[in-house]
Amino acid sequence: MTDTVAARPVDPFDAHALNAAEGLDPVDPAFRHVLRISALFNMLPIAIGATLLDMFVVREVGGPYGLLSVLAWLFALFAIIAFPARRAQRWGFKIGEGQLRVARGWLFRTDTIVPFVRVQHIDVGQGPIERWFGLSHLVVHTSGTHNSTVTLPGLRADLAAAMREEIRRHIQTDFA
């Protein structure tokens, strides 16, 4: 539904074309499982809630019983099975030349560059689902009001730690 945009320079259905066209590295493929499981936790309560609403309200008022449940469960299935792989593919990053580049999204794509010298501090975080798949996320803090934090998820834990060390070497403070 979101991908049927006319006149696209890059085929959005191709897993690697987007990142390759912009010279970016893809995030770890396992990241899609992380997205999928968090989508599961988000969508399941919504679908269950819709079903309950259907059973106790729509049926009572004589509405089209069942329609809401079916739609909710179809949407949930779609969001859990089809979406996460796409979303994961559209994250890209590039580290080097003294800067970190993070790109995300397709419909609204944002390509952020943070020079290492502008980094205030770095976090490497790992949530329970990420830990399961051996992934971490890197959070880079800048002093800008816009983009005060730039998050790059879906990194293998050792890669995230290596990136942190790489950036840390460049951090310099310009506060007198």
């Binding site: 696209r8 944002t110 952020t112 560059i113 943070v114 502008r118 002093s143 009001t145 816009h146």
Partner: protein, 513 residues
Amino acid sequence: MTGSAAARPADAAPQSAEWQRLHPATLALAVVRLGPRTLNFLPALAAIGIAGKWVYVLPAFGAFLLISLVTAWIAWARFRFLVGANEIVIESGILSRQHRTIPFDRIQDVSIEQGLIARALGIAKVGFETGAGGDKKDEARLDAIGLDAAQALRTTIRAHRGDAVPAAAEPLGREGDAKTKTPATEDRVLFVMSPGRLLVAGLFNFSLAALAVVAAGMQLFDDLLPFDFNIFNPLDWFDLAERYGFEQWIVAHRWVAGVGALLSLLFIGFASGVLMMVLANWDFRLTREPRALRRTRGLTTRTDVALPVRRVQAAILVTGWLKKRFDWHELRLQSLASDGEKEKDHQVVPFGHLYEIDPVLAEIAIHRPDASQPWEHSHRIIAAGGLFGALSAAAGGAIAMMLGQPLGGLGIAAAALIAAASLFSARFHSWTDLPGMVAIRRGWLKPKTTLLPYASVQSIDLKTDFILRPLGLATLVFGVPGGSSLGSHEIPAIPLAAAQALRARILAAGTRA
């Protein structure tokens, strides 16, 4: 002010400094502050009264006052500070004690603020600007100490910084030329607001926002006025017309009432504009100090703020469609530190001509693009957002009309206005690349020009979406330290190649610095 005097020699041992308390007049200020707080207590008193326990009302009120005063006194007694050789130490808290040490090196500047009562008592609130982000409530402050003590404290801290900092490298080209021109120790006046200027500025500051306040006030005092006519109330003009029985005349000359109403509206608008301008900017002085721009202003509440030159991130020139014709402009500087609790950027020239603003900009090594500078325009597609809004408004209006609600016509009219405004103002988005700086211009009713040095850019977003991408456009958004009340810095909808080239240039400059 024995503490700061003792701390002046850099090698003095910290022990020689003494713990000091806030000025005793602070307690008087606490009493004054009790006034408004009593209002919160009134419902409780009323409840006691209504319950029939009138005997308890007075004791309860007395107890409330006593507890408040004792709390204020304990807070005062438990607050102490020490000005050491290299740092200031503040201890506060009644039950949970807080001990805070601020090294002078980390204090960007000391701001001094005096309200009306504080001025009468000769005391001032002192705030320490540390450049730490986050909550303003978290800033260290001394509320309040004597004015001379406050000034001495600031001198101490600034003298310390003056000794310590020249070793640190100055960013090239930012301050260098300004420093060689003038002896660094001398303070020069850059800009003042004369009473005449204040009046003109106030007239341009026409505002009907105060009308509501005036109207509310008039409601309140209506019965107190000796005569039942209020020249500030447009409705009274209509009443007047009716009351004097000039009905025939009035029906023929209805415009008299209209003109009277209009004149009173205009008067309120201009008077409140002048009043607000005078209150805020009375005796406005902007001076150049060795490391900072210092601004003092205010009629009732006087503030004294210094803005370290190296902390300035961007300059924003604001004007209005009418002001622009008379070459009146306002200069704001975006800095790491925020200006007071309300404003995010610092107003350094509230109302001035460009030839007065240019020297101020020169002090922070920012140069305004001259008239011959070619500007590149954003693509007109940026009107799409406004057009979409107009479309929704029109659709809403149409649906309302179809459902038999004639007011839906307003929605359609509004939609036409919104569409016209967004199409028109889309023409005013433009940008240009200057040496080491990018300038962004936007707005028609209130034109703003942002001058953003490359060195201030912390991060760059290059954004595209499903509308911009087919057109080969992109939007650049810059992450800049310090907030601005005028929104984020972005160049919307410019050709992708131009955006990428500009991004590469800015990043190249940033990594070199």
